[in-house]
Symmetry: C2
Subunit: 182 residues, 2 copies
DNA sequence: ACCTGAACACCGTTCAAGT
DNA sequence: ACCTGAACACCGTTCAAGT
């Protein structure tokens, strides 16, 4: 990659991070290009779709999500608390930029999405947590990790979409109770 | 309302129902106007926002949702089955038009939304089911009807957003297990 | 090889003119 | 009182011209 291309790529990404934080992942791409000081075509060259741009920003937090999974597994806390903490962290991460959670919900089961691979990384992290729960005999029979992922992402999406400042904890508690062995 | 106004109103609604069924609730409003044979301004006069249009179509299914709640309460089936059936019906109704579920998630906690009132009707129906569960001593302590509503709408939204033809049943089973007394 | 920005297409929304 | 449709604004996307 040529030096100026690299510089533009980085500038676009940094600007997108700011704009997405301010106004969410549905902000005008034109505004990002303008604020980054590049032509619209340059943005499209580097990021052909909005999802590709969101995907590039996701890198930061897929790492953190993976680390959170390990922390959750390693904890001595009761299964219920462990799960609740893990879910809350997960929701916090994917709702960092408004609109991201629902894009993740859509990408999760769509291999054609640019965000699919990173969704898989997060999905794998979640599966490790659920597998661990299973290994300690605390997973309710019939619960599937992929559906847990969808469910928790759904909670994130609801909180993200809502105008009100929702507390996701009560919803996550129901999910947790539905997952741990009765 | 003048006769021609009434006729246009009905024609727009009927067309919107068709277009929303074909292409979801984010279809072009201009296309609806064109296919209904009215000017764009006429559509906006009757339905100032897209949500107002969706809201008008919701009338059909809020009635059905309310009826479903009564059926659920009256059934002799075990609490778990009763709840699962109720949730499945609810999801079916609000995912009738693609994109509707997430709009409902957003409107549910936003009194300023045109759809708010109808969300309340559905919320009340759900509360009656949850109250009934509580009355028979089968509700897990601490579970709140409003959060159940948000959770199930979230499941609907995930299914609606997803490209894959998701089966919502496994997700709803987790929710049900989290709601009924352990 | 990469960048620019004008040009195009599409859509929501408004409003002056018409009935 | 209501309707029409041209006009405007905004935004995503492309591409010819430039470096």
């Amino acid at each position: 990659m040529r030096a100026d291309a690299r510089r533009n790529y980085d500038k676009i990404l940094a600007t997108a991070r700011i704009v997405f934080t301010e106004r969410g992942t549905d902000s005008s791409l034109d505004e990002i290009a303008k604020r980054a000081g590049v032509g619209a075509g340059t943005l499209y060259r580097h990021f052909p779709t909005r999802e590709a741009l969101v995907d590039a920003l996701m890198q930061d937090w897929t790492d953190r999500v993976a680390a959170d999974a390990d922390t959750a597994i390693a904890t001595e806390a009761p299964a219920r608390d462990m799960l609740l903490g893990w879910f809350e962290n997960f929701v916090d991460h994917i709702t960092l930029h408004r609109g991201a959670a629902s894009k993740i919900c859509a990408a999760m089961d769509d291999p054609a999405s640019p965000m699919y691979r990173k969704c898989r990384v997060m999905g794998d992290a979640n599966r490790r947590v659920i597998d661990h729960l299973d290994a300690t005999g605390e997973l309710r029979p019939g619960v599937d990790a992929a559906n847990v992922m969808r469910l928790v992402s759904g909670v994130a999406s609801v909180a993200d979409t809502s105008r009100a400042e929702l507390d996701v904890r009560p919803m996550l508690e129901v999910v947790v109770d539905g997952i741990v062995r009765a």
